[in-house]
Every structure is written in structure tokens, then in C-alpha cells.
């Protein structure tokens, strides 16, 4: 067994495989399929200050090797999380990370303050890249100035590891990564979904109630991998890579390109056992190639 552990600042992950926000509920929803304690971490469903009903149905469209979603951050709000979800997860031995979303900077601050109080939440993922909400969301993530403003404000109230989740819908993602690093982000995670659209030619209407939605799945993997590679070269903090990871080989590609850890999202819908298959697959790969630790391959792509 190779050493699979990685860390972001002082936070240790027993392996580099996390489940991505919005694709694994709060963890319990996939517990039938996956022993959560075998995962590096669980990034929980996006949480907001107030409850949100999310967008109208239809919220989903299948696309070639991918899907569009327009969930719109449906969730019961942070207080419900603290009262009803937090108690159920705090004894599971894994890193449960809260994915934090705001319409305003004040929202982010209020959320981060509340999460900061939760002993067993070792980190937050600051989502400044949700393409499916009218206010806030991706708007914060597409310019350096607005991304920096959010990160700076949250940094002032949140003391544990802060991962900032970046939008791929930008000209220069490395620039934004550097900007948030400068404001004290302990890590950046990327990519969130690409803004896309589906049309029903027969009805001559958009498929999604919101017209546009977020594209995820293997279709985006080549772009996500390129972005992770660019960002890993631009920043010093650890990078969490994601976008279309379906198996261990995909995950290893991200690690080689410079990701310290990966998140698995849409793949869970196809097969919720994939995250653990990836953990095993990474171990096999390391043994086959005579590496004793996964850290040896991070960013080791040879040019």
C-alpha cells in the first residue's frame, strides 16, 4: 500500500480523492454505496445563508459525454445544516467540507463565521463560480477584483483552510488563481461547470428552465486539465483539480498536471462507487510504477 496522504496547509487527507460539491449530497446520500471514511474528503452540497428552493424543473440536460445542470443551489440554508446535518456527520472519520455560496459579500462573511464555529468542519470551499444563480455566484469568480474582494472578506473571519473554487468561464484562470492566493486562499479548486445551453429543436425551446446551465462530465476534462496545469504553475498553494474525472487514470492525469487532490463529481451519478475505485486505482498505479507516495507524482508531468 502506497502512502496516499496529501495535505492542504495543516489539514491532512488520507487520500487525494474527494467527492465534489452538489454531486454527493451531504455524504449520507451515498453511504449505501461508499464507506465515507475511505474517502479523502466529502465536499458537501452548496450551502447558502437562507434556504433556497433552486430553479424550476427542468434542471438537467444530457449532452455528449456530459450534462448540463441548473439546480441553482437548492438547499435548506446554513442553520438547517448546523442543526440537522452537522450532528449526523461529525462522527464520520473523513474531511467534510462545506461549500459556501453567497449573493453578496456579506452573505459569504456571515456563512464563513458560522462555519468557523463548527469544530468538525476542517475547511470550507468558497464557491465563487456557480453559473446557475441570478445573483452572486459566478459573477464573483470572473474578475480578479471581485474574486479578491470575497476572499479578503472571508479570510478576515475564517481561520481554517479556505479553498477557493474557480470558474472556468474566464480568459485567464491562472490570473484569478494568483489573485485569490494573494488574498490568503490556502488552496484553489477548479473547475466549476462551464456555462452551456441545450435546445429542444422540436419544441423550439431551451431544454432548461433557466435557458443556460453548467456543463460537467468527461466532455470538459481536456479543458479542465489544461486549466489545472496552468494554475498549478502559477500558484504556490495546493490545487484541487476536477472536471470529468471518471476513473483512476483521469485522476492521475490531474495529479501529474499539478493537482494535489481531485474531486469527483458527475461520475458519481453514473456509478457512486467510482470515488473509491479511484482510490484503489491510484494505489495500484503507484505500486506498478514503484512510487511509495502519491506526493511523488503530483506535478511530475515530464515535458
Amino acid at each position: 500500500m502506497a502512502d496516499l496522504s496529501v495535505n492542504i496547509k495543516d489539514l491532512l487527507f488520507k487520500n487525494p480523492v474527494l467527492t465534489a460539491s452538489g454531486t454527493c449530497g451531504f455524504g449520507q446520500e451515498i453511504a449505501d454505496f461508499v464507506d465515507l471514511s475511505k474517502l479523502g474528503g466529502v465536499v458537501m452540497k452548496g450551502t447558502t445563508l437562507k434556504p433556497r428552493e433552486g430553479n424550476d424543473y427542468p434542471r438537467m440536460a444530457e449532452t455528449p459525454s456530459g450534462m448540463l445542470n441548473a439546480v441553482g443551489l437548492q438547499n435548506k440554508g446554513v442553520d438547517n445544516f448546523i442543526q440537522n446535518i452537522y450532528p449526523t456527520i461529525k462522527d464520520v472519520d473523513s474531511n467534510f467540507i462545506v461549500n459556501v455560496n453567497g449573493s453578496t459579500i456579506e452573505d459569504y462573511i456571515a456563512l464563513a463565521e458560522k462555519i468557523n464555529e463548527l469544530d468538525k468542519i476542517p475547511a470550507i470551499e468558497l464557491n465563487i463560480s456557480c453559473p446557475n444563480v441570478k445573483e452572486g455566484g459566478m459573477a464573483f469568480g470572473v474578475s480578479c477584483a471581485s474574486a479578491q474582494a470575497v476572499v479578503k472578506a472571508v479570510r478576515a473571519v475564517y481561520s481554517k483552510p479556505m479553498i477557493v473554487k474557480l470558474s472556468p468561464n474566464v480568459t485567464n484562470i491562472a490570473e484569478i488563481a494568483k489573485a485569490v492566493e494573494d488574498e490568503g486562499a490556502d488552496s484553489v479548486s477548479l473547475v466549476n461547470t462551464f456555462l452551456g445551453m441545450a435546445v429542444n429543436a422540436e419544441t423550439r425551446r431551451p431544454v432548461l428552465s433557466t435557458i443556460t446551465g453548467g456543463l460537467s462530465g468527461p466532455a470538459i476534462k481536456p479543458i479542465a486539465l489544461r486549466m489545472v496545469w496552468q494554475v498549478a504553475q502559477a500558484v504556490k498553494v495546493p490545487v484541487v483539480g476536477m472536471g470529468g474525472i471518471m476513473n483512476a487514470t483521469d485522476a492521475i492525469e490531474f495529479l501529474l498536471a499539478g493537482a494535489t487532490a481531485v474531486e469527483v463529481g458527475t461520475a458519481i451519478f453514473i456509478d457512486p462507487t467510482i470515488p473509491l475505485q479511484i482510490v484503489d486505482g491510484i494505489n495500484d498505479y503507484l505500486e506498478r510504477h514503484n512510487f511509495s507516495s502519491v506526493r511523488e507524482i503530483i506535478g511530475s508531468l515530464q515535458m
Binding site: E53, P64, N69, D271, P272
Partner: protein, 259 residues
């Protein structure tokens, strides 16, 4: 019941009519209990263009043989390719999914209304509800005679009624035009239905008006099928609910249908 991802063996793929097929799947281990209305999410690998799984209701279960069957109607690309699978092929399914129908009391007289691929869960209820045949009426609608599947294996379980839009089998019209529906609806204690939305809405409206317990099984587009993607929502009186976990079966009084 614990959900699992399993590779099952396809032991039979029988064409029932021009666009309906019955697929019988064989598990290695004992099957979990499966309630009518529950479904499986099927991976369709033998096609370039399919990415997500496809949900299909469970048509019937043979616990002894560790087998269950699906009724697959060709709608689009995925269902079409699925019907080309042959006995001996392996198929990955996630199951059992969804809540299932509330089973009737022993004194209930029930009406099961199925249209299109919604026939599957209705047949399975007729088998599992445990009622004497005279308390079970099954009303099945289709466009034409050749769109109905052969239900003779179930016909001893209840009284079967058919409608076709062209009158080629049973009474002419929609299910809601059938004499038993028009004349005897108030005699039923419970109505269960699965089929196209307009049909279910028409039924729901009449059931609500008559004050009859009514459960509908919704079909919408799903990404995961087990409650994590939040894509399959239906508006209910208590907000958005997931059809794959809170449903697919809903009591009409919890829905916000404008009926």
C-alpha cells in the same frame, strides 16, 4: 433498503410488440425487497452517445430465481439500444430506487390506470397488492391495439379494461373516457396511476373531485436516480422534492398541479 450498483445478467429479452420489450435480469445474490413503483437505473454502454443511466420501473420480481423484469418501451436513443441487448449480456443497474406505492388495505377496491410505459408498475401492483381479483380493476390505455402489450399472465389478478384511441381494442378514447372510469369511479377506494403526464393530471383531477385517494408515479429526467443531483424535482406543497427519492410516487394532495 440498501441500494447497490450491480452487474446483472440479461437472461431474456423478449419483444412484446412493435416498440415494447421485456428484459429479465438475473442477480447473483438474493434480491432486496422491491415494492411496486420502485425502479432501477440502467447503464447503456453499447452506444456512443449515451452518457447517463436510464430509469425503468420494475415490472415483476421472481425472488426465487433472483430475477426481475423491466418493460422497456423505445422512446429515444437509449431505450432503443437497450432493446438490442441479448441474453448473456451484462447490464449494470443501480437499484432498488424510489419509494413505491402505498399498498391498499384488504378491504379496498382499487383502480390501476396505466398508459404507455406506465403499464409496468400497474401490473406489478396487481400482483403484489394481495387483494382478491374482484377488488382490482386495471385500466390500460394506448393509441391502438398494436400498442398494447399482452397482459394475459396478469389477467387472473383483476378485471382488465382497455382503451384505444382508434377503438381497435377495448373502448374507444382515452382511459378517462372508459365506461368504468366515467360511471364507477366513485366506487373505488384508491386509484394508482402511471403514464403520460396529461393522463395522470386528468385522473388526478377527477380523483380529487371525487375525494378518492390517488397516487401517481411521475416520470421526469434524472441524472443520478438516488437523490444527490437534485435535478429531478417536482414542486410539492412542501417545496421541491426529488422524484427519485421522495417519489416517483406522490399522493396527488401533495402536488401543486393546477387541476
Amino acid at each position: 433498503m440498501k441500494k447497490t450498483v450491480q452487474e446483472l445478467l440479461l437472461v431474456e429479452n423478449k419483444q412484446l410488440n412493435h416498440d415494447n420489450f421485456r428484459l429479465v435480469l438475473q442477480a447473483e445474490n438474493e434480491l432486496p425487497p422491491i415494492v411496486p413503483g420502485q425502479f432501477v437505473n440502467v447503464e447503456i454502454k453499447k452506444a456512443t452517445e449515451i452518457f447517463l443511466r436510464r430509469p425503468f420501473s420494475i415490472l415483476d420480481v421472481d425472488a426465487e430465481k433472483k430475477q426481475f423484469s423491466l418493460l422497456v418501451k423505445i422512446l429515444g436513443r437509449g431505450s432503443k439500444v437497450l432493446t438490442t441487448y441479448q441474453a448473456g449480456d451484462k447490464i449494470s443497474v443501480i437499484y432498488p430506487l424510489g419509494n413505491g406505492f402505498t399498498m391498499p388495505e384488504s378491504t379496498d377496491k382499487v383502480l390501476l390506470i396505466g398508459g404507455g410505459s406506465g403499464v409496468a408498475p400497474m401490473l406489478y401492483i396487481s400482483k403484489l397488492c394481495g387483494l382478491p381479483p374482484e377488488q382490482v380493476h386495471v385500466l390500460l390505455g394506448a393509441r391502438s391495439k398494436q400498442d398494447h402489450v399482452d397482459v394475459s399472465a396478469y389477467q387472473s389478478l383483476g378485471k382488465f379494461h382497455f382503451t384505444t384511441e382508434d377503438g381497435s381494442l377495448g373502448e374507444k378514447g382515452f382511459v378517462t373516457n372508459h365506461s368504468i372510469y366515467k360511471n364507477e369511479l366513485s366506487g373505488f377506494d384508491k386509484i394508482y396511476t402511471c403514464g403520460p403526464n396529461p393522463m395522470m393530471k386528468a385522473v388526478a383531477k377527477d380523483a380529487a373531485a371525487a375525494g378518492i385517494f390517488c397516487e401517481v408515479s411521475l416520470e421526469n429526467t434524472m441524472a443520478c436516480g438516488f437523490g444527490v443531483c437534485l435535478c429531478c424535482v417536482e414542486k410539492t406543497t412542501s417545496g421541491h422534492k426529488c422524484v427519485c427519492t421522495d417519489g416517483p410516487v406522490f399522493n396527488i394532495k401533495d402536488l401543486t398541479w393546477q387541476i
